[in-house]
């Protein structure tokens, strides 16, 4: 493999398993190689955790944001922008897609952030643990009405979504299974909490109320017994459909855009072999997530999947800010910046429904595309930003004068490296040609930097940058 190809592959890995990489980052990872980089991403303990205290000191409102989504989103954005464990944060985002829970109903970002923290800590651990924790998670209990799921009046919301969207998918259970599943989770509720007035939010706590639990026999997915919630989860995990469902989610999130989840029972996976391979690894490892991630990132289907996914708005915003080094650390703009993914269609902590976001091409519409391009272009054309300065200094590292073709090549190298289609390259070169060669002597540096930054901004609007 050529050095360029290896660098492109690493950049692809770091876009998918993280939020992209600067040229300096790629230098570091090139030293250790692809497989070691995968291990570094998966074994997060080798890197220090985000310093949350610095966030809470300078942004105290983000500790207990209550129903205000802005400070809640700012809290998570801070983690994504500053993490040295990018895959850990990416997995939190993955599970937020799958186990979509929204502030529109929960009205409590404190507990949504607790849920995200749980995904952060356990998202690369065991899927069974995640499901059990989720079933006890106060935000989820309120979101899917399990606090209204009583022995004498079962509420099927949690039971249905557990099967339909969190583990098996439509077509792999019956209406009776939904009812029996729901009965097993009766009494799994949240304790009475103190009201938000007058001192702000007090925590919700999971509570099992034995007197409200249905202890009678249930028949679920062909098994009969006096099941409780954990028994139900164990039976779910025995289904082939479960491992394939989670494997397809991993494939959709990390490899290639799949159809939207509601279509999965009628449209086959784009790569059934890859999904089956990941599903088998999940089963063989008793649903440990790390082995599946390791296999995924080292697979040929992953390595050949560059630009087969449209970046989510969060990936666009976080990846760009990390690249240009803006709004890193505490910053008064943190809260307003945390709204940006929402303007592009992805309000974090507030997905449109329990189904989560429709991804892939559905991220793109006329409004969202303009927002995406403008957001990235505005930042990459700002030559005062530290990351842009670094990029430009690397572009300027030449004999003094460069041709328009060289300018385009160097910009593409710094933006990825980003191998664009010939037609795209022609357009970029054509634009660069309008002002001829570019000179990097002391006298011209500032003006040349502006030209280079305009080229970076133009590249931000390419299909390749917006896909990734």
């Amino acid at each position: 493999m050529t050095v360029t190809a290896e660098r492109e592959l690493l950049a692809h890995l770091l876009r998918r398993a993280g939020f992209g990489a600067s040229s300096d980052d790629l230098d570091v990872f090139s030293e250790i190689g692809y497989e070691a980089t995968v291990e570094k991403l998966i074994n997060v303990d080798s890197e220090t955790a985000v310093d949350e205290y610095s966030l809470l000191r300078r942004h105290p409102i983000t500790e207990v944001p209550g129903g205000a989504s802005g400070p809640g989103q700012a809290n998570w954005l801070y983690f994504m922008l500053n993490t040295q464990r990018p895959l850990q944060e990416k997995m939190a985002l993955f599970w937020h897609h799958v186990f979509a829970t929204g502030n529109a109903k929960v009205d409590n970002c404190n507990h949504l952030l607790d849920q995200i923290a749980m995904f952060r800590e356990e998202g690369m651990g065991n899927y069974r643990n995640l499901l059990v924790n989720l079933a006890r998670d106060p935000a989820m209990i309120f979101w899917l009405d399990n606090n209204e799921n009583h022995k004498n009046a079962p509420n099927e919301n949690w039971g249905r979504e557990l099967l339909e969207l969190f583990s098996l998918g439509v077509g792999n259970y019956t209406e009776t299974d939904v009812f029996e599943c729901s009965r097993a989770f009766t009494g799994w509720t949240i304790g009475a909490k103190m009201p938000r007035y007058p001192y702000g939010r007090h925590p919700w706590k999971f509570e099992f109320r034995a007197e409200d639990h249905d202890y009678t026999e249930k028949t679920f997915l062909g098994h009969t017994g006096n099941f409780d919630g954990e028994d139900i989860i164990d039976i779910i995990l025995q289904q082939d459909a479960c491992s394939k469902f989670i494997a397809r989610h991993l494939y959709n999130f990390f490899v290639e855009d799949e159809p939207q989840v509601p279509a999965w029972n009628i449209e086959a996976p784009k790569n059934p072999e890859a999904v089956n391979q990941l599903a088998k690894i999940l089963i063989d490892s008793d649903y440990e997530v790390k082995p599946a991630l390791r296999a995924l990132f080292n697979s040929s289907f992953f390595k050949e999947s560059a630009y087969k996914r449209v970046k989510s708005p969060v990936e666009v915003v976080v990846g760009t800010l990390r690249l240009v080094e803006d709004v890193l650390g505490p910053d008064p703009r943190l809260e307003s910046t945390a709204k940006e993914p929402g303007y592009m269609g992805q309000d974090i902590l507030d997905p449109p429904s329990v189904e989560g976001w429709h991804t892939g091409r559905e991220w793109i519409n006329s409004g969202a595309l303009v927002k995406r391009v403008n957001f990235v272009s505005d930042r990459l054309s700002d030559t005062a930003l530290p990351g842009v300065k670094k990029i430009i200094s690397k572009i300027a590292d030449c004999d003094g004068t460069m041709s328009p073709e060289e300018l385009v090549e160097k910009c593409l190298e710094q933006m990825g490296p980003l191998p664009v289609k010939d037609k795209t390259r022609e357009e970029l070169v054509s634009h660069a040609n309008e002002q001829g060669n570019i000179t990097w002597d002391e006298k011209s540096y500032e003006q040349s930097a502006v030209r280079a930054s305009e080229m970076l901004a133009l590249i931000a609007s390419t299909r390749e940058y917006q896909f990734g």
Binding site: S54, P60, A74, A192, P195, Y199
Partner: protein, 334 residues
């Protein structure tokens, strides 16, 4: 515990002040408090930054009495990240803004008199100024957090002296926060990132560290502020552990306060009693301990009667303790 007694000292919980409110008789993430000679307290509300990125009106300086009378507030729109308050001998109020790197001065009526401060790391420059405290000569010590140093200015902002640098050795700092000056003009700094409080002479000579040599559960975790009472006992806001640690003048730990506001403040009571649903909700809760305990304490001030006042950023509340001088604890078997 409403009463905390150790070795000849007793602290009695008195009452709570305030509630979470974006305006009027309440506070929004109170970050700094300073008591004033007429039994009043200035309270700095940090507020949020707002989705629009504009300065929010909930950032303000409120003035209340210790008996919970709302006097008024000022400073709306003047700051981005207000951090700390101090009052000089003329009763002028000073406030640091750790984003604009300035110190803003107000007269006793809350009229803005001016501001000073230039960003940077040269002598007299500021980089994220946080805690401030006046000495008896109206010189202002400023915790220059981003530069990991203490700087002393005249109240007009003329540079006098500085000490400190980044690090964890004696006299070095890691993102320090609060500061106070005792009756002997010694200076105490909450060395936030180093999990300790350092005591210095007025000229910056290191004297003592608090909170570093104790058993694990008694050590400080990111202290945010410090105050000294009339008998020399030292109170440290143990921000990370959500408590106040009390030390004797030699640095030995005496006890801890964890917050005791089981009763609502007057303003809080008005809100709850006007909301039947909230009243019902309180009656359904078995364990109300989280109502009483400090939830992210940020700042501490001690008034002329040795009443100890602690602010809590996430509760929008102050808790007041009285240090009893004549407390008797007869050993009756009650």
């Amino acid at each position: 515990m409403l009463t905390t007694t150790v070795q000849g000292r007793t602290w009695n919980f008195s009452h709570a002040i305030g509630r979470n409110a974006a305006a009027g008789n309440g506070f929004t993430q109170p970050m700094s408090i300073v008591s004033f000679k007429d039994d009043s307290i200035y309270v700095l509300s940090r507020g949020g930054d707002g989705a629009g990125g504009v300065v929010q009106p909930n950032k303000r300086i409120g003035k209340v009495t210790i008996d919970e009378e709302f006097i008024g507030d000022f400073g709306h729109g003047d700051f981005t990240w207000p951090s700390s308050l101090a009052v000089d001998s003329r009763s002028h109020v000073y406030c640091t803004d750790e984003h604009t790197n300035t110190v803003i001065e107000y007269d006793p009526e809350g009229k803005k008199m001016g501001e000073w401060g230039d960003p940077g790391n040269k002598e007299g420059n500021l980089n994220m100024p946080s805690g401030i405290a006046f000495d008896s000569s109206d010189n202002l010590f400023v915790v220059d957090s981003g530069n990991n140093r203490i700087q002393k200015f005249t109240r007009e902002g003329e540079f006098i002296l500085t000490w400190g640098e980044a690090g964890s050795s004696e006299g070095q700092f890691s993102d320090p926060w609060g500061i106070t000056v005792d009756q002997n003009s010694n200076v105490y700094v909450a060395d936030w990132g180093n999990n300790r409080v350092q005591k210095f002479t007025p000229e910056g000579e290191f004297l003592l560290s608090y909170g570093v040599t104790f058993p694990e559960d008694m050590r400080l975790n990111h202290p945010s502020d410090v105050a000294v009472d009339s008998e020399g006992d030292v109170y440290v806001v143990d921000w990370g552990n959500k408590r106040v640690q009390i030390f004797d003048p030699e640095g030995e730990i005496l006890t801890s306060l964890y917050g005791d506001a089981y009763e609502f403040s007057q303003w809080a009571k008005e809100v709850v009693e006007s909301n039947p649903d909230a009243l019902k909700a309180y009656r359904r809760v078995e364990d109300k301990s989280s109502l009483a305990t400090f939830e992210r304490p940020t700042s501490i001030t001690i008034d002329s009667q040795d009443r100890i006042i602690v602010s809590e950023s996430t509760r929008g509340r102050l808790q007041v303790y009285a240090k009893e001088k004549d407390y008797l604890d007869p050993q009756y078997n009650l």
